[in-house]
């Protein structure tokens, strides 16, 4: 055994290795087969925060999917005679419940349409960098050696490259289309996953179960697919939710500089950026989209944290732990 002692900064990663010594037995409780199927949903219901978060995300997702169709052209219909209408004025119909913007468009409709744009930028951006960065990192960490070194240096380059410059250049040269924004955000965020995946994979490749697979003559790619990726995935997914937040913010910063999503398309970031000059006269223009960003990312993070624990066989128990207040004591069996 020449493994270094488990370090604090090592990520818990499935299996027995996570459980601190002495608590291994925690992982032992054997859930019956039956309750395994339903339990993910049940576990979710048990955690009020996670439930709320899931509801928020489902709502956001549905809005993004069906909202724009429902809104028709409401989001772009301008009315210069009714600009900056304050929110919660109920006389104007539901479309203006959150007020109107500086061109008299319905805030509700714009928020809804922006949901789709925002997600269609943030999700692919996160997805692409997640997939590329993770696979690359896993591969580099698994093979170690020169492949690892070169990969890490590339990550260094991207990390210390002024990402804004990259954005500005690409967006200036190739016009600020949503696809280009996605591309830039994806490329600049690859190192995040690359580094994490590499570290995890480098650690995993020395694990015994990987050695075991090698003794069968399993090919490296098969080992990566079977043993490394499933273990690394939860960590990377958690990371991805944090990144989701980052990407939305970055998109809004691009909008601030005028090179984000271009009108008449609208994203939350763009709405916040354009609404900033009305902060004193029409706060709702930037407040509501900002709130949408915050709520979505918080919900995503809460759910990711929950999911991470829920899908980890060795940590799952934490979720089901009764709260201290509500202990139902099992009456001690009378023995004498």
């Amino acid at each position: 055994m020449s493994k270094p002692p488990r370090n604090v900064n090592q990520l818990p990663t499935g299996g027995r290795a996570i459980a601190p010594p002495g608590t291994e037995a925690i992982a032992l409780p054997r859930p019956e087969q039956a309750d395994k199927k339903i339990s993910l949903f049940h576990l979710l219901l048990k955690d009020r925060f996670a439930t709320v978060a899931a509801l928020v995300l489902v709502f956001v997702g549905l809005t993004a999917l069906f909202g724009p169709t429902l809104m028709g052209d409401l989001a772009t219909r301008q009315d210069l005679s009714a600009t900056n209408r304050p929110p919660f004025s109920f006389g104007e119909g539901w479309a203006f419940i959150l007020g109107s913007d500086s061109l008299g468009r319905s805030m509700v409709a714009r928020l809804v349409v922006a949901t789709q744009t925002t997600l269609s930028v943030a999700l692919p951006a996160v997805g692409i960098s997640l997939v590329i960065g993770s696979l690359w990192g896993v591969w580099a960490g698994f093979h170690r050696g020169i492949r690892e070194t070169i990969s890490m240096r590339i990550a260094d380059v991207i990390m210390s490259f002024p990402s804004l410059l990259l954005a500005v250049v690409i967006l200036y040269v190739f016009s600020p289309s949503a696809a280009n924004i996605v591309l830039i955000l994806a490329v600049t965020r690859i190192p995040i996953y690359l580094r994490t995946a590499r570290a995890e994979s480098a650690e995993l490749q020395s694990r015994t179960f990987v050695d075991a697979a090698r003794t069968f003559g399993t090919k490296p790619n098969a080992i990566i697919r079977r043993h490394v990726i499933p273990v690394v995935l939860p960590t990377l997914l958690t990371l991805a939710t944090l990144e989701f937040c980052y990407v939305m913010l970055a998109e809004s910063s691009l909008s601030f500089l005028g090179i984000g999503i271009q009108p008449p398309d609208v994203s939350w970031g763009l709405m916040v950026a354009q609404g900033r000059q009305y902060l004193q006269t029409a706060w709702w223009l930037s407040f509501f989209p900002g709130l949408a960003i915050v709520l979505t990312t918080v919900a995503a993070n809460v759910l990711a944290a929950w999911l991470r624990i829920a899908t980890d066989p060795a940590q799952r128990w934490r979720l089901t732990l009764p709260r201290k207040r509500m202990i139902m004591r099992i009456p001690a069996k009378e023995v004498q």
């Binding site: 020449s2 493994k3 270094p4 002692p5 370090n7 604090v8 900064n9 090592q10 990520l11 601190p20 010594p21 002495g22 608590t23 955690d47 925060f49 996670a50 240096r153 260094d156 380059v157 990390m159 210390s160 490259f161 002024p162 990402s163 804004l164 410059l165 990259l166 250049v169 200036y172 040269v173 580094r195 994490t196 590499r198 570290a199 480098a202 958690t238 990371l239 944090l242 937040c245 939305m248 913010l249 910063s253 500089l257 916040v272 950026a273 900033r276 902060l279 004193q280 930037s286 900002g290 960003i293 915050v294 990312t297 918080v298 993070n301 809460v302 944290a305 991470r308 934490r318 979720l319």
Partner: protein
């Protein structure tokens, strides 16, 4: 330690070079700045002269060779816009960013350590939930929005702080507050995660068995161990601050390197852009080395080439470990 430094410097020099080359090439993709700097009715001849004078008609590698030739002579070129030495402009702007980013990071780390530790004491407790909610929300507010909001509330409505500009300590408050939130939010999560796992390590129990008070256990034993992952992330965040304070700098009129960079991009002021990028890249590179050193200072296990390990087991342990990030968030 020296070997380590030497190796670190050698291995980072190449990426550094690639960054600068990349910036050089990318910047030239943005087009010829002739019309920006020439009079409206400039003739073709004037354009050609301008292009030639600035060497923009040469193939890119010739331009690069010229540029690096100049760099070796410590000549970083002149600003197209102001005619000043590009190096002077970058060096002038840099301290402003550094001070701002440095102070911000310091505060973010201190606050995050306090809040994160507090949250970690009772995982999933009410303090944990609240702090994790607040920190996540903090990390997801667009900074420019926050900046303008801050100006509105603290400078205009309350009149406590100046709106912007550089000056006395009060001028620092709003920019720092704005920059602070994201690093703070992210770090709270990291510190909390690291503290939760640190607090469940056996050495915590060992400390308790010696009669150490809760305070001592947390501050002496858990924190020091939790510091390493936090340090890594703090480093990445600091890089982000140095590189990405543009928005805050331009709102608050803070004459930093971020603002200089974006201005020189917008003005196609290549020499200044390159000088600024080179400077930040070097600083990021130094920052990374400092973090490695700090990491080694915190945890002897990653101290490279220190004392010769005594036993065989130690030998394999003493390999410098790649820094790792702890992604464990509250549920």
């Amino acid at each position: 330690m020296l070997t380590f430094l030497r190796r670190r410097i050698v291995s980072s020099a190449l990426p550094l070079l690639v960054v600068v080359l990349g910036v050089f090439a990318l910047a030239r993709l943005t087009g010829n700045p002739a019309s920006l700097y020439l009079p409206l009715n400039a003739t073709e001849q004037m354009r050609a002269d301008f292009t030639e004078k600035n060497g923009l008609d040469n193939p890119i590698w010739v331009q690069m060779a010229d540029y690096f030739g100049g760099v070796l002579r410590l000549d970083f070129g002149e600003s197209l816009r102001t005619g000043e030495s590009a190096a002077a402009m970058a060096l002038r702007a840099f301290p402003a960013t550094l001070q701002l980013a440095g102070t911000t990071m310091l505060l973010a780390v201190v606050l995050a350590v306090i809040v994160g530790s507090w949250a970690a004491l009772k995982p999933n407790g009410i303090a944990d939930r609240i702090s994790s909610f607040i920190s996540m929300a903090a990390a997801s507010v667009p900074d420019f929005w926050l900046a303008i909001m801050g100006i509105w509330v603290f400078a205009i409505s309350l009149g406590w702080l100046p709106t912007s500009g550089v000056g006395g300590p009060s001028a620092w408050v709003l920019p720092i507050l704005t920059l602070l939130l994201r690093p703070f939010g992210v770090l709270v999560q990291i510190v909390r995660g690291a503290m939760v796992s640190s607090l469940s390590e056996p050495y915590i129990k060992l400390a308790r068995s010696k009669g150490a008070s809760e305070f001592r256990v947390v501050t002496r034993h858990a924190l020091r161990n939790a510091a390493a992952p936090a340090l890594t992330v703090a480093g990445d965040l600091a890089v982000g601050l140095v590189n990405g304070a543009v928005v805050v700098e331009s709102i608050f009129g803070w004459p930093g390197i971020g603002k200089l960079m974006i201005d020189s991009i917008l003005q196609r002021d290549f020499a200044v852009l390159q000088a600024a990028v080179l400077l930040t890249a070097i600083s990021i590179f130094i920052l990374n080395i400092l973090i490695d050193l700090g990491y080694a200072g915190l945890d002897a296990r990653v101290r490279p080439a220190g004392k010769r390990p005594k036993s065989s087991k130690a030998a394999s342990v003493a390999e410098p470990k790649e820094r790792k990030v702890h992604v464990q968030t509250a549920s």
